[in-house]
């Protein structure tokens, strides 16, 4: 009798699972059609964002969310709209991102998705969103393949090949005497692209990358073998492409090995442009230079500067909303990508094709994450303005201001 009951229960379970399995794709598969019929009556107002809210990249995810939520709040208040943002935690793990992408698509109430912090996570989800014909806007994705992967992908991060070329142009212009480079980069999709693009651009300008070393991010603690090689090579530039935690460790260890910012240019990438980086390098970080398209609104940088009223308004809104002083570059990219998305949706509606076309115009709002920005015909973001910062007494300063003060 027990066996029969167990068999019946097993059959019921199997049947219910099959029903669930068959109903899920049906739901997601029918969503574009459903979207169209719904949009005729009323536009969707919800956006799904997936970023790391736990794990190694939490700081970046938190910053992006703060920027995105602020954009939604300001836009709704000023325009009487009812856009909403639902945030999901992908832990910085591409597998988790794909699970969330499926969940977002199956939900059927979102008109666009935003995410993730890393290009790897964003790129992993592209097939899911492409099948559902849902716009995927990555607030920080900058891998050169991302915008070309699918008609539905738009990045807010400047495409690395352009970023590296611009950075090297500025480097060569500012430091013409620095001819040789020792490079340490992350062994990730993005890190490899940056290393190759930077090497190519630097060598086109007559420089030479004499040491190029890689490491596994968030797993390597000891960089002294790599730094000893670079020190031995006598490279004029130590270029570090990494997150801010690894970057701070690398620069600290370089100093401990006797490398010196007065003889070697310590050059950091924009990802390290965070106040937390300054906390970790402490007062030893003096002289580290950043050449980047990423913006910083640290108090010291704004002293004596005439700011655009729109920027001032953004900074005040941010301070009021979060009781925090300085939005970093990731807050700004979260803000700009969300603002562009909802401004476009407000103007042309939420039909994916129209929305993408409008987003690529990048108009109707005041961007805060950089200057002179536009999209190419291939959906690649261009930023034609480089900021050059130097670290002094645990603050970021504009290099020009610092040089003027030295005189």
């Amino acid at each position: 009798m027990k066996k029969i009951i167990a068999l019946v229960l097993a059959l019921i379970m199997a049947a219910s699972m099959l029903t669930a399995c068959s109903s899920e794709p049906k739901e997601s598969g029918s969503s574009p059609a459903a979207t169209e019929s719904q949009s005729a009556k009323e536009e969707k107002t919800k956006i799904a964002m997936f970023v790391p809210l736990t794990g190694d990249f939490k700081q970046y995810g938190d910053a992006i969310v703060r920027g995105a939520k602020l954009a939604i709040k300001i836009f709704n208040r000023d325009n009487g709209t009812k856009f909403e943002l639902d945030v999901f935690d992908d832990k910085g793990d591409p597998n988790e991102s794909v699970n969330l992408a499926n969940k977002i698509v199956a939900d059927g109430s979102y008109f666009a998705a935003m995410g993730s912090y890393t290009s790897s996570c964003a790129m992993a989800t592209v097939p899911v969103f492409e099948e559902a014909n849902m716009l995927l806007y990555s607030p920080t994705g900058s891998h050169e393949d991302f915008p070309l992967m699918s008609p539905i992908t738009i990045p807010m991060g400047i495409t690395k090949k352009y970023d590296c070329a611009l950075q090297v142009n500025e480097l060569v212009k500012r430091f013409p005497e620095k001819k040789t480079m020792g490079m340490i980069y992350q062994n990730t999709d993005n890190g490899v692209v940056v290393a190759n693009a930077t090497t190519k651009a630097f060598e086109e300008h007559g420089g030479k990358v004499i040491v190029s070393e890689t490491f596994t991010p968030n797993q390597t603690s000891d960089f002294t073998p790599l730094l000893s090689k670079i020190k031995e090579s006598g490279a004029d530039i130590l270029y570090v492409e990494s997150g801010y935690v690894d970057g701070a460790k690398i620069f600290n260890q370089a100093l401990a090995l006797g490398m010196d910012t007065s003889t070697t240019l310590f050059l950091a990438n924009g990802t390290q442009l965070k106040p937390e980086f300054l906390d970790l390098v402490g007062d030893k970080g003096n002289g580290i230079v950043f050449i980047t398209t990423m913006v910083s609104y640290q108090k010291k940088l704004l002293e004596g500067k005439q700011l655009d009223p729109e920027i001032t308004k953004f900074l005040e809104e941010y301070k009021q909303e979060y009781n925090l002083e300085e939005p970093d570059a990731f807050v700004c990219q979260g803000y700009d990508s969300t603002m562009n998305l909802i401004t476009s949706a407000h103007k042309v509606g939420t039909k994916t094709e129209d929305l993408i076309k409008q987003c690529l115009k990048f108009e109707g709002f005041y961007p805060v994450s950089g200057k002179d920005m536009s999209y190419t015909e291939h959906k690649e973001l261009l930023k034609n303005y480089q900021f050059v910062y130097i670290v002094e007494d645990s603050e970021f300063l504009y290099l020009d201001d610092w040089l003027a003060a030295q005189k």
Binding site: F215, Q219, S221, P225, N252, G282
Partner: protein
């Protein structure tokens, strides 16, 4: 450059050895791979930093001592709450191993919730300067780390081989039932071993935190694999083996990164480990395991 790389390798190897000694202590008595050890090492560093900051950035030695005590309490709790009940019910060793993995996850998540995920600046209070050589330099802190690892290895070896407590540990390792019949408080011995191992982990975590000048939740995970490999290379259960394995692991890894490829540094280090184990399965000093003495 070779001399500098050798110094680099010995330094990183010393940090592995510091942690590997704690691994070996527990393995020697229980024949249990304690996967929570790496997490206690990370927790020890957090305890030192947080108690130091809580005291207004003063009395570091007191903070350090408190960290050792707190870590020892955590070690005791792991044994008392998760492992002793399993021993009582004669659960297989793999069950205990999984339980230590669970403890590791609980500790890491507790630290995440309590202190956040961001890396913390760790003050280097032993920044005593550098010793300059013609083609290399090293800091006094590097010497202190190496000296501490050697001292702990000697101290723990003396404890195990020259004291009554050590005799009790070795008896427990050989046959816990017979040891209990001889009047040895087996559960007490195991608890003390866990407490000593955890206090050692706190020392290691604090020194490594100072050396790298930052700590984060991933500290335990990133070190665990290497230190476990170090203990295996030296011969699990052998304290001098843990020391030797740690130093060798560090030097091999550094030399691989310097002269072969930085991308394959870990792969090469583990390849050497496998080769050594194929030739000598008990590890380099495996025969001298105190539990079989």
């Amino acid at each position: 450059m070779f001399l500098q790389q050798l110094i680099n390798g010995i330094t990183i190897g010393s940090t592995y050895a510091l942690v590997a000694i704690g691994y070996s202590m527990v393995f020697g008595v229980l024949e249990l791979i304690n996967f929570a050890h790496g997490s206690v090492y990370m927790l020890g560093a957090y305890f030192s930093l947080m108690t130091y900051l809580a005291m207004g950035g003063r009395h570091f030695l007191l903070a350090f001592a408190l960290s050792m005590v707190l870590s020892a309490v955590v070690g005791f709790s792991i044994d008392r709450a998760a492992l002793r009940p399993l021993r009582k019910s004669n659960a297989p060793k793999t069950t205990a191993l999984i339980a230590t993995l669970g403890c590791s996850t609980i500790i890491e998540n507790s630290v995440l919730l309590s202190f956040g995920t961001e890396a913390k600046k760790f003050p280097n209070l032993l920044d005593l300067g550098y010793i300059e050589l013609p083609n290399a330099r090293f800091s006094y802190l590097q010497l202190i780390i190496l000296g501490t690892a050697i001292s702990l290895m000697i101290g723990m070896s003396l404890l195990v081989y020259r004291t009554k407590m050590g005799k009790a540990m070795r008896s427990t390792a050989q046959n816990s039932e017979a040891a209990a019949l001889m009047g040895i408080n087996v559960q007490g011995v195991i608890s003390i071993t866990f407490m000593i191992g955890s206090a050692l982990a706190a020392i290691a975590g604090t020194l490594v935190g100072m050396y790298y000048e930052s700590i984060s939740v991933t500290l335990g995970f990133t070190t665990s694999m290497k230190t476990f490999a170090s203990a295996v290379l030296g011969g699990v259960g052998s304290l001098p083996g843990a020391m030797l394995g740690g130093i060798l692991m560090g030097v091999i890894e550094t030399m691989a990164a310097s002269y072969v490829s930085s991308g394959y540094r870990d792969a090469i280090a583990f390849m050497v480990l496998i080769l050594v184990l194929l030739i000598k399965p008990t590890g380099l000093l495996g025969k001298q395991r105190f539990d079989k003495a």
